[in-house]
Amino acid sequence: MMFSTTRNALLPLLAAATAPIASRTTIPVLANVLVEAADGRLRLAATDLDQLVTVGLGVDMAQPGRATLPGRMLHQILAKLPDGAPVQITHDAQAQRARLTAGRARFDLPTLPAADFPAMKAPGEGGDEPSRFSLAAPQLVALLGRPAFAMSREETRYYLNGVYLHRLGERLAAVATDGHRLARATLAAPAGAERIDPVILPRDTVANLLKLKPEGEVTIAATPTRVSFSWGDITLMTKVIDGQFPDYERVIPKADQQSVTARIERKPLATTLDRVMAVATDRTRSVRLALGPGAVTVSATEPEHGSAEDTLDLADYAGEPLTIGFNGRYLIDGLEALAGDSVTFHGDSAGSPALITDPDDPDILVVVMPMRV
């Protein structure tokens, strides 16, 4: 195998391709990136066995071939080459070594046979016909990215370690929860997504997808076990979490049945919470919200760290005054998932979940369970 390209063409694609590579792995080939050159095109791929990223680009090709090269090392070398440097990579299959030359710099890297690189079946390959649909990249990023903060890290309820993508009437919905808070984003289901089976996208996949910053139109292919996202020359393919997402809809409070409704400026509330939490410990992060007509007072008291209080005006208030405790961090995360100038807070009691919505955007909601304070 031998091909030539430039550092600038290869680097961003290699960065994308190596996204799934874990910092430590016990299977050597998983630390490598698969490099395939054929028909004037280069294909790079890396996997952690659960997800696979492939990228493609056109190169000047002298000789086709395939090999796997150490992913991180290759990425670092390219990053340290001068801007715009031409790069040539030659693989000697016999010696199992690859040589990268750029100007007068020369790097010899060990390789592993391409045959060792684990194959991963694309959605629908040798199985059910996948649902196929496309979304503009910003839409997809909003759909999966906005609820992502609520994904769980607890291994025992592994089925919460991701974003639940499913049909909700005429809409496509993405939900994440860690049992303390929940967030849901929706959008009008695009053509082709009518019969999508519900899937749980693993947290690493969601994180990588957001990191890869998709552009243009993203094509999604989904079966009950595998999903792929493709745009430009990049494809991210993933297995889904094999589990049952809980019936989450019943924990979302009905907005019209809550005894308290308040409209609060979103960013000032987040700033106020952050300020008051300066005295809260990392362990509890508990804050108290005293809501009433005209104002909300945010306070925190930590026996050994002092106390803090701040008051914020609020516009519309309906209901009796309500004092309710929260993990302040959860509230801030939730507020950041919303985009509008103000939010509507719906609450019922100090022991029932609070619903936070955007009065101008019905496509996002956040539910936060209170804390005893």
Binding site: T156, G179, H180, Y248, R250, V251, G325, V367, M369, R372
Partner: protein
């Protein structure tokens, strides 16, 4: 067991007429059930069980009306309902029980700083040198009972004696709403006539073994020499030897803070299959969780202990970010820990499950509430 330390020197000490301690054991009568009946007049005089009525539910406490039907705490709810079809199930309100428990503790604290709580509703008090200078321990016990009744509207039984073992036996003797005193002169005689099952530290398994050895009463126990008891009951031998003579030098330990809640079992035949070990761990989890419910304690760390046939002992544990809320979650973690050990090549002679990183403050669950997912 602490009593094992030096039975002989204890006997000597008693013979030398050292200061006789005054120990009170206070035990609230049908605590959880009584609180529920106090707070809801409709439940008074009726057979009541606190606990889950569902399939896997367990009775946490039974009112005296229910006990008449043979309903006992730790009994599966299904069995309880079979014994008493009109049994009313009430979900536990641990917050309330803890509040009452703190009230009672505050009353104890007025009389003595030497308080050893056993659970929310039970404690040992050493009133040898009490704060009010009351010479008679019986008077102290009477005053405490009266104060508990006046301040909480609940009844407590008290046992007064010169050690923990006898004080606990005494409180049980006139239950409910009773007071019983065992003086140093009566101690040995009181124990003589006692059925072996009544001894603290003698569970169903030990009772069966004692009976097989011809030990049915305290008198039978007293007739067995120390080396015989040590041979058959190991570490517990000296304790049994002592208490059979009314001697128990375990101190009332005021600052005893529980670090963990655990249960383990040694099997008569080594276990080899995952299924068999799984079945045993379920029982252990049940046992641990029952204790959690009784004490109001919760933990974040689950540890699985295994002892192989060759006595090699290993432990595996997992710590969660927040307090574990339910039995099933403990069970799932234990299953995952066990699963990770397979394939196991050696037989397993002992399994243990322990919950630690406890909320020793008595604050039950984490203040963060959970969504009802």
């Amino acid at each position: 067991m602490d009593a094992a330390e030096s039975v002989e020197s204890a006997l000597d000490a008693a013979g030398r007429g050292e200061v006789v301690r005054k120990v009170i054991h206070i035990d609230m009568d049908a605590f959880y059930a009584s609180v529920e009946q106090r707070d809801n007049p409709e439940l008074r005089g009726k057979p009541l069980a606190v606990g889950g009525s569902r399939e896997r539910g367990v009775v946490a406490a039974a009112s005296y009306e229910a006990r008449r039907f043979g309903v006992r705490s730790a009994m599966p709810s299904v069995t309880a309902r079979r014994r008493c079809p009109q049994l009313i199930f009430v979900p536990p309100r641990f917050d309330v029980y803890r509040t009452v428990s703190r009230q009672i503790h505050a009353i104890f604290a007025e009389f003595t700083p030497v308080i050893e709580p056993l659970s929310l509703d039970e404690a040992y008090l050493d009133v040898t040198g009490n704060l009010k200078g009351i010479p008679s321990a019986t008077r102290v016990a009477e005053e405490i009972r009266a104060r508990i009744r006046a301040e909480t509207g609940l009844t407590a039984s008290a046992g007064v004696s010169y050690n923990k073992f006898l004080a606990k036996l005494a409180s049980d003797h006139r239950k409910p709403d009773g007071l019983f005193v065992i003086t140093p002169r009566e101690g040995a005689a009181f124990v003589e006539g006692l059925a072996i099952e009544k001894f603290h530290g003698v569970g169903p398994a030990t009772a069966a073994r004692m009976k097989a050895l011809g030990i049915h009463t305290g008198r039978d126990l007293r007739e067995r020499p120390l080396d015989f008891l040590q041979q058959h009951f190991g570490k517990s031998g000296p304790y049994f030897y002592g208490v059979a003579r009314g001697i128990d030098h375990r101190p009332v330990r005021p600052d005893r803070i529980r670090k963990s809640i655990g249960a383990e079992d040694t099997f008569s035949v080594d276990l080899v299959t995952f299924e068999a070990m799984r079945a045993e761990t379920r029982l252990l989890v049940d046992k641990v969780w029952r204790h959690c419910e009784k004490s109001g304690l919760r933990g974040r760390t689950v540890t699985l202990k295994l002892r192989y046939a060759d006595f090699e002992t290993i432990t595996r544990s997992r710590t969660l970010p927040s307090m574990i809320a339910g039995r099933d979650e403990v069970d799932r973690i234990v299953e995952a820990l066990l699963q990770a050990l397979f394939p196991i090549e050696k037989g397993v002679r002992l399994l243990g499950v322990t919950l630690s990183s406890l909320n020793t403050e008595g604050e039950a669950e984490s203040p963060q509430m959970r969504l009802a997912l």
